[in-house]
């Protein structure tokens, strides 16, 4: 027989532990049902202890933990589905436009530095990094949201990774460039490349799964060229020791780079156009 004060403390500890575990649920679910769930769990504790003593409590905890794991997974999955369903048509259109404007800023930024060299470096950085990158991230997250269900887990996660790693690496590079242009400053151009690599990998999946209503090759073309150019630049510079693209660089390299970046920009804009024009039909009817 367990004494009443011990009973009370077992219940108090159990309820406190359960209350802490509720943080695993999505915040909105916690806010709406957390207090009721704690109340019900407390009732269950009282009954389990009264009817089965410590064994009853252990059995209750076993059932509750299993239930917690299952329902936490279920609620997070529901939340994701809900977010997909609830993406506002206007938001999709805005994200599509963001992708198109981001593509334009990116291409213009590359062209400026290719034509004007170091004189226009500052404006180019503003366009390609500060303006284009946030717009591209918004657009790509919307692409993930809109087509993630069809492309599968890998495609979804890789775009998510790109949207996080791209800006993060760029930021580290931006900070690093003031202290050590090489090697930390290299991250400044590797950041966007990381974003585009992830888009290209999404593009490979898109060729196979065909999630877009048309032009499923667009994400691959939109992601492929900039990382290849950056990779080639880093390899060449490491071999020659010249990181400034000195006079030894053949002119055709610059021309090819501009053409490839322009193709990439067009593909990005096309992806934005697809997103903008592929707004889901309303599932509800007006009363």
């Amino acid at each position: 027989m367990i004494s009443k004060p011990l009973n009370n403390s077992i219940i108090t500890v159990s309820v406190n532990v359960y209350q802490t575990l509720l943080v695993a649920y999505p915040t909105k679910f916690q806010q709406e049902y957390g207090s009721q769930m704690v109340q019900v769990f407390q009732d269950c504790c009282l009954r389990a202890l009264r009817q089965g003593g410590m064994n009853g409590m252990l059995k209750l905890w076993a059932v509750t933990l299993l239930d917690l794991i299952q329902s936490v997974i279920s609620e997070h999955a529901q939340k994701e589905i809900q977010m997909k369903k609830e993406m506002n048509p206007d938001d999709i259109r805005i994200a599509g436009k963001a992708l198109m404007w981001g593509a334009a800023a990116f291409v213009v930024g590359i062209l400026l530095v290719a034509i004007g060299g170091s004189k226009l470096w500052g404006i180019s950085v503003v366009l390609t990094h500060l303006l284009s990158m946030p717009l591209l991230v918004v657009g790509l997250l919307a692409v993930r949201n809109r087509y993630g269900e069809k492309i599968g887990g890998f495609g979804r996660n890789i775009l998510w990774m790109g949207a996080i790693l791209g800006p993060l690496i760029t930021f580290i590079g931006l900070v690093g460039i003031t202290y050590s242009p090489q090697p930390l400053g290299i991250l400044f151009i590797v950041g966007p490349a990381m974003l585009f690599i992830c888009l290209a990998l999404f593009g490979f999946m898109a060729l196979y799964k065909k999630p877009l209503p048309r032009w499923n090759v667009a994400p691959l073309i939109a992601g492929l060229w900039y990382p290849i150019l950056i990779f080639a630049y880093i390899i060449t510079s490491m071999r020659t020791g010249d990181w400034d693209g000195g006079p030894g660089t053949p002119q055709w390299v610059g021309v090819v780079s501009i053409v490839l970046c322009a193709i990439q920009g067009i593909a990005l804009a096309a992806l934005g156009y697809i997103l903008k024009s592929d707004v889901p039909e309303e599932t509800a009817v007006s009363a």
């Binding site: 009721q36 009732d43 239930d67 936490v72 599932t283």
Partner: protein
């Protein structure tokens, strides 16, 4: 303002949790713990529903308009002064429950025709 199309057939087949919660609410409104006890009693302890499954199902059933929240009040039968949220069936929920019960009954009927139930009962009896 928008309203969703409400056809109980769209919800069939109901999950065991949803069916049991609707069944628990069929004879009147109950709070969460009351639903849990009723489900346990109705299924002779075979369905043990934890708070997570219970309120996850309640959330989805509220969204689907199968049940509605009635009010918050103290349960006079419990030695607990705290107020509790009560839930009750909607017309849609009652129709969905009836259709699911009919669907299950027709399955039982097929089992009877195929002598499945008779065989099991005789085994259980011996």
């Amino acid at each position: 303002m928008t309203e969703t199309i409400q056809n109980p057939e769209e919800f069939l087949p109901l999950t065991p949790a949803v069916f049991n919660i609707l069944l628990a609410l069929a004879d009147g409104e109950k709070h969460g713990y009351g639903i849990m006890l009723e489900v346990e009693a109705n299924t002779k302890g075979q369905v043990l529903m934890g708070p997570g499954t219970l309120y996850g199902s309640i959330k989805r059933m509220l969204q689907a308009d199968l049940i509605q929240e009635s009010d918050e009040r103290v349960d006079p039968e419990m030695d607990d002064p705290r107020r509790r949220s009560y839930y009750r069936l909607t017309d849609l929920g009652r129709r969905a429950l009836r259709m699911e019960a009919e669907r299950l009954a027709s399955q039982v009927q097929i089992a009877k025709i195929k002598n499945i139930l008779a065989t099991d009962f005789s085994r259980g009896a011996t």
